[in-house]
């Protein structure tokens, strides 16, 4: 790095080795250096202007910033592990297999929350994935050009709405709809499957999944759009030149080439859904139950923390909640790492192909 700071002056005028000048050139010092051997003053000036010290300080500062990113992640892991030690020692792996959540008697098991998180996230994915891919295709390949910007902007706006506002809307609009219209209709038509049964309060897994689907849609849509855009246009042109219809072109050249990246986008959406807190807490009903009735109130890993953390009494209770946080942290890290690797694999290949 420091070699850029010191540029040798072409040694054409004199035979004596030229002093290396760097930094902002001071014209007054150059003739002096040619005339006389370096003096103390000259040395001082050279040090000042070469900026080697500032250069390495600056580089060091940037390294510290970069290190702090790693440090933060390690610190989070350390703090979570240290604070959940009590519960880890008390329950071991049984913590994740037990469905008994009884703060009064000091017995804690995380299974109902894992169940709630998995079911609500999966249901949200089932709703959101086909829609987001369809919209990505529409915006990229079907939509007339003047509409493209506004639609992309609207989907970005969806991503910018805070979670608590989604929750507010869900509490006052979505919950009544599920309670009075959607729920009874589902019970009547699909009640025989056992997934929809009375009692229906409007709050429950289904409502949480619906609001989650709206929230993860922008993530999946924008990333799969990026991945599809990375497919070289020669692929599309080749398919079209062979007489493919638009859908055949999309299916054979776009979706086929982008499928790994789309899977990555879906997993990123899953990561977001797993960790989503506020909107889910507001509409899921907050009741640690394991039933297959999707209209039933439930709890997720994030919502139990949000609900009970500030009123947790006793070290074991607090430590059990922090262990839930640790589990959530590790799961989302793994999910996100897989997704990033998939997206990276696709975009890297396309970058190499176009280069």
């Amino acid at each position: 790095m420091p070699e850029f700071g010191s540029i040798p002056v072409p040694a054409t005028q004199t035979g004596t080795p030229q002093p290396k000048t760097g930094g902002t050139l001071e014209p007054a010092t150059v003739p002096a250096a040619v005339a006389a051997p370096p003096s103390e003053v000259r040395k001082y000036l050279r040090e000042q202007s070469s900026g080697a010290a500032i250069d390495s300080t600056f580089a060091g500062l940037m390294v510290v910033c970069a290190l702090s990113v790693i440090f933060i992640v390690l610190l989070i892991v350390f703090v979570l592990v240290a604070n959940s030690k009590l519960s880890i020692h008390a329950f071991g792996w049984k913590f994740f297999g037990s469905s008994n959540w009884d703060p009064v008697n000091g017995s804690f098991g995380a299974l109902p929350f894992i169940y709630g998180t998995v079911v609500s996230s999966m249901l949200a994915l089932v709703i959101a994935v086909p829609l987001s891919i369809a919209v990505a295709i529409f915006v990229l390949d079907i939509c007339p050009l003047p509409l493209r910007g506004p639609i992309a902007f609207l989907t970005e706006l969806l991503a910018a709405i805070p979670s608590v506002v989604y929750g507010l809307w869900a509490v006052f609009v979505l919950v009544p709809i599920v309670r009075d219209q959607l729920g009874p209709w589902l019970v009547k038509t699909l009640g025989w499957t056992g997934f929809f049964a009375e009692p229906n309060f409007g709050v429950g897994i289904l409502t949480a999944s619906l609001i989650l689907a709206v929230m993860i849609f922008p993530v999946i849509c924008s990333i799969s759009r990026d991945v599809m855009r990375a497919v070289p246009s020669s692929q599309r042109e080749a398919a079209l030149a062979l007489g493919a219809t638009r859908w055949e072109m999309i299916r054979m050249s776009v979706l086929r080439n982008a499928r790994i990246g789309i899977v990555g986008a879906v997993i990123l959406g899953l990561g977001r859904a797993l960790g989503e807190t506020m909107a889910v807490t507001m509409v899921i009903g907050n009741h640690p139950d394991i039933t297959k009735n999707l209209l039933n109130p439930a709890h997720t890993l994030a919502s139990v923390i949000a609900n009970e953390f500030s009123e947790a009494t006793g070290d074991l209770y607090l430590s059990a909640l922090i262990e839930i946080g640790l589990a959530l942290f590790l799961v989302t890290i793994v999910v996100n790492a897989i997704a990033r690797l998939l997206v990276w694999a696709v975009t890297r290949n396309s970058a190499r192909a176009t280069a």
Binding site: M62, C65, V69, L157, W169, L328
Partner: protein, 337 residues
């Protein structure tokens, strides 16, 4: 054959279409440059097929195309519906309950009407200011390192990956971490802890945007500066960062907009406060927290305030996102690509 995620409605046509297409490249490639006639598709030698089948297949292919086009238009409409519903409802409810008292008064006690969220607006400002003060320099520094020093190195890749991982950490976990790190040691909730939690959430977004933006600065600009004898730190500050500044500002505002609406990390750090407070060492009110508390409450008066607060919050975020778009469109980098 691997099937793409959304299959055509009629799966039986899947095997029939690739066959003619797969056999086509040879004849097409053998006559490059010649003007291929429009009817070339039919004249290519294929396994013999009656004109009727050919016609039927073609019609079905185009019907599938139309169906899928229709479906994707429909799903776009379905997706835009909740957005329009949310924004419309928010504007309607929020605007009708917004008044001057909202911006000037602190929350009224239960049972009394009136009152506002002035202290929450102030509190959000304090927390976000603190978060920006910590998060923005840290994020830009890490981004500069990735783009200018750590390119291609192992350490750089580790930092990049960690930043991506940090980006996906659930916000509630950030709240717990800040609680265990700061609140548990101080023995009381504080605005400072909330600011730190939000700052950590800002860092990865800013780092990655800064890196991407610096990567688009043409290296000839840097080389020109080096050629003039400008030291590296000065080149980074006055050439690279200045050229990339519109994009970096965009990244900072995106990160700001993202944390401005965060509630979960503040639940056990800033806690909320019913009174005026701007002290970093004390629990402080915040707009998203207040919305959450009021939405969960059973009082109509508080619901009204929650809607007004949501409108104010959204307007704050929309304004910064719009500024982002203006910056991004005017950016130097836009023309460079």
């Amino acid at each position: 054959m691997s099937t793409p995620p959304n299959n055509p409605p009629n799966p039986s046509q899947t095997p029939s279409v690739p066959t003619p297409v797969a056999s086509m490249p040879t004849p097409v490639a053998s006559m490059p440059g010649t003007a291929a006639p429009q009817s070339g598709l039919n004249s290519i030698s294929l396994p013999p097929r009656s004109a009727q089948t050919e016609n039927w297949l073609k019609r079905r292919r185009f019907a599938t195309d139309m169906t899928v086009t229709g479906l994707s238009i429909l799903s776009t409409a379905v997706v835009l519906l909740p957005l329009v519903a949310i924004l419309g409802y928010l504007l309607f409810k929020g605007a009708s309950s917004l008044n001057w008292a909202f911006f000037t008064r602190v929350p009224a006690p239960v049972g009394q009407s009136g009152g506002g969220m002035a202290n929450a607006i102030l509190g959000s400002g304090v927390i976000l200011g603190l978060a920006s003060l910590i998060g923005i320099p840290l994020g830009i520094g890490a981004g500069v390192f990735l783009a200018e020093y750590g390119r291609g190195g192992v350490f750089g890749n580790i930092v990049r990956f960690t930043a991506d991982v940090l980006n996906g950490v659930p916000s509630i976990v950030m709240g717990i971490a800040a609680y265990a790190l700061i609140v548990a040691h101080q023995h009381h909730f504080s605005a400072f802890a909330g600011g730190v939690a939000l700052a950590i959430m800002m860092v990865p977004t800013i780092t990655r945007t800064t890196e991407e933006m610096l990567a688009t600065v043409p290296s000839s600009l840097r080389e020109a500066a080096f050629g003039l004898g400008v030291p590296k730190w000065r080149t980074i500050l006055s050439v690279s960062l200045r050229t990339a500044s519109p994009g970096i500002i965009t990244g900072c505002m995106l990160a700001f907009a993202r944390v401005a609406g965060e509630t979960a990390p503040l639940l056990f750090t800033a806690l909320g406060n019913q009174f005026w407070s701007a002290k970093l060492n004390q629990p402080i009110a915040a707009l998203p927290l207040q919305i959450f508390v009021y939405a969960e409450s059973p009082y109509d008066e508080w619901h009204r305030l929650a809607w007004a607060g949501a409108l104010v919050l959204i307007v704050l975020i929309m304004v910064s996102v719009t500024l982002v778009r203006i910056f991004a469109n005017r950016g130097v980098l836009k023309g460079g690509q």
